[in-house]
């Protein structure tokens, strides 16, 4: 335990928290995208999927038990992810701002020599966080983005998520916002997935290309999958239930 505390005291320790919580969140994002593909199988399958999620782990776990466990883990992960990011950002800013002259950037001129994705992590992270809040208010709670009565809350174990999604994405402004944030999610995943392995020390000269490839794959899969939903709705491929 003392060793773990020592690690925690270092900047790398906070990075490890980022990586581990990031791993959980990546897992969620992939699962979330994959599950939503059921939308293409029509309202019955999709709505049944939503209902089925509540029964995960049956018969050992009861109604919504595992789902709540997952929610708690995800919530803790998000909090820790943001907290460690804040701590690390503050450490870096203290360093890089201190030597500049007040009112001046660190360098008069600075050229980027590597990929753009890594530079979007902090800003992109904020965008993604705001998006998550909107997304929950929108498709989960139905308090924004719907006309009166358009959003159908679950009742009696029946879920109308299909109709909610279709109606929700028929608003072009909302769809555009979803598409826009997915760009940041893509960058975040592309850098984050590789970075996670790097931080956990699982990267090496042999694996680095493989892991970069994996990062591209996950980022592309999630982004393409996710943007397909609003596009499909807007293009009428996924339409209101007959």
């Amino acid at each position: 335990m003392t060793g773990v505390l020592t690690l925690y005291r270092t900047s790398v320790g906070k990075k490890v928290i980022m990586a581990v919580t990031g791993f959980i969140l990546v897992g969620f994002v992939v699962f979330h995208m994959y599950g939503n593909l059921k939308m293409y199988q029509g309202p019955e399958v999709f709505n049944a999927y939503a209902a089925g999620l509540r029964e995960l782990g049956y018969p050992v776990f009861g109604h919504e038990h595992l789902l709540w466990l997952a929610r708690v883990i995800l919530l803790v992960s998000v909090v820790l992810h943001i907290w460690s990011a804040t701590m690390l950002t503050m450490q870096s800013q203290k360093n890089t701002f201190a030597n500049g002259v007040s009112g001046m950037r660190r360098y008069g001129e600075k050229k980027r020599q590597t990929g753009y994705a890594a530079y979007t992590m902090r800003f992109g992270g904020i965008v993604i966080f705001l998006f998550i809040i909107y997304h929950l208010l929108h498709l989960t709670f139905g308090v924004v983005g719907y006309g009166p009565g358009e959003f159908k809350h679950p009742h009696g174990g029946e879920y109308e998520v299909y109709s909610n999604v279709v109606i929700g994405f028929q608003n072009p402004l909302i769809s555009a916002f979803y598409l826009f944030t997915m760009v940041f999610l893509g960058f975040h995943l592309y850098h984050g997935v590789w970075s996670m392995f790097q931080t956990l020390g699982l990267n090496s000269a042999i694996y680095t290309r493989l892991l970069r490839g994996l990062a591209v794959l996950i980022a592309l899969a999630v982004v393409i999958g996710n943007i397909s939903f609003p596009i499909a709705v807007m293009a009428g491929i996924v339409g209101p239930a007959a």
């Binding site: 060793g3 890089t96 008069g108 890594a118 931080t199 680095t208």
Partner: protein, 260 residues
């Protein structure tokens, strides 16, 4: 060639600095970048002005003393070389060149383009060595070292401690420097005994000096004149996690940081 230079001038660590513009005339493409600055300085001295202070020594890319942020890139536009190895043929007649010092909290400016990098020395003092006293070594061939390991160790050991990694890092992190030393020693059988303790001690000292943290951006490796790989950082991270599992604590009180 004729060039316009925008150079950071700062009298000392306590006085704020500013950019000043100079005209560099009669520059030959065969000159090295530092020789170009020599020419400018000779001019300034003759005119009765203070020459631009910059660090340099071997002028063959190995001592690690030269620095300079040139047009926003550490060690200038060409890859895998130091500023002293950069030649003026890499620029065009009439160019404007911005020249700045390394900027990071643990690298306080001493004067103009000269910074204090003694924080790097203190990181090495915190554990960047193998504890062997003179005279106690066994015959050199007692322990064979697999050639691939020796080669990887040498790749990391090529670090010249110039600080470009810190200068280029948006976080001002020294992880590439720390990781290069850790990898140099951890790839060798002789370095195994203190491997995890060394990793902990050096990273603790790095944090204490006020360097930023690594967010795996890769600017460090991109500007590194010796092309040290980011793989070394992953390796150091792994060693730190193993150290945590082994319950290793920092051996001694880390040396007091002078900066910060």
């Amino acid at each position: 060639m004729k060039l316009t230079l925008k150079v950071w001038r700062q009298k000392n660590g306590k006085t704020p600095g500013e950019f000043k513009t100079y005209q560099a005339e009669h520059i030959s493409p065969d000159m090295s970048f530092l020789e170009m600055l020599d020419v400018v300085n000779q001019d300034l001295i003759t005119k009765g002005e203070e020459p631009i202070a910059f660090d340099h020594d071997c002028r063959e890319g190995i001592c690690g003393m030269c620095s300079l942020m040139i047009n926003g890139v550490a060690h200038g536009p060409k890859q895998a070389i130091t500023t002293c190895q950069l030649h003026m043929r890499s620029f065009n007649d009439g160019d404007t060149i911005t020249i700045e010092p390394w900027r990071a909290l643990p690298f306080p400016i001493i004067k103009d383009l000269v910074v204090d990098r003694s924080s790097f020395d203190r990181i090495i003092q915190a554990g960047g060595y193998i504890s062997v006293s003179t005279g106690s070594a066994p015959d050199a061939n007692t322990i064979p070292v697999p050639k691939p390991d020796a080669d990887k160790s040498m790749d990391a050991a090529a670090c010249i401690g110039c600080g470009a990694c810190v200068a280029a890092c948006p976080n001002g992190s020294a992880m590439l420097f720390v990781a290069a030393k850790a990898a140099h020693l951890s790839f060798l059988p002789q370095g195994q005994v203190e491997r995890y303790q060394r990793a902990v001690n050096m990273v603790m000292q790095q944090d204490l000096e006020g360097f930023g943290n690594c967010t795996n951006i890769g600017e460090c490796s991109a500007v590194c004149p010796k092309e040290i790989s980011m793989d070394t950082i992953a390796r150091l991270n792994r060693d730190l996690i193993v150290a945590a599992l082994k319950g290793i604590e920092p051996a001694a009180q880390p040396a007091e940081a002078r900066a910060g």
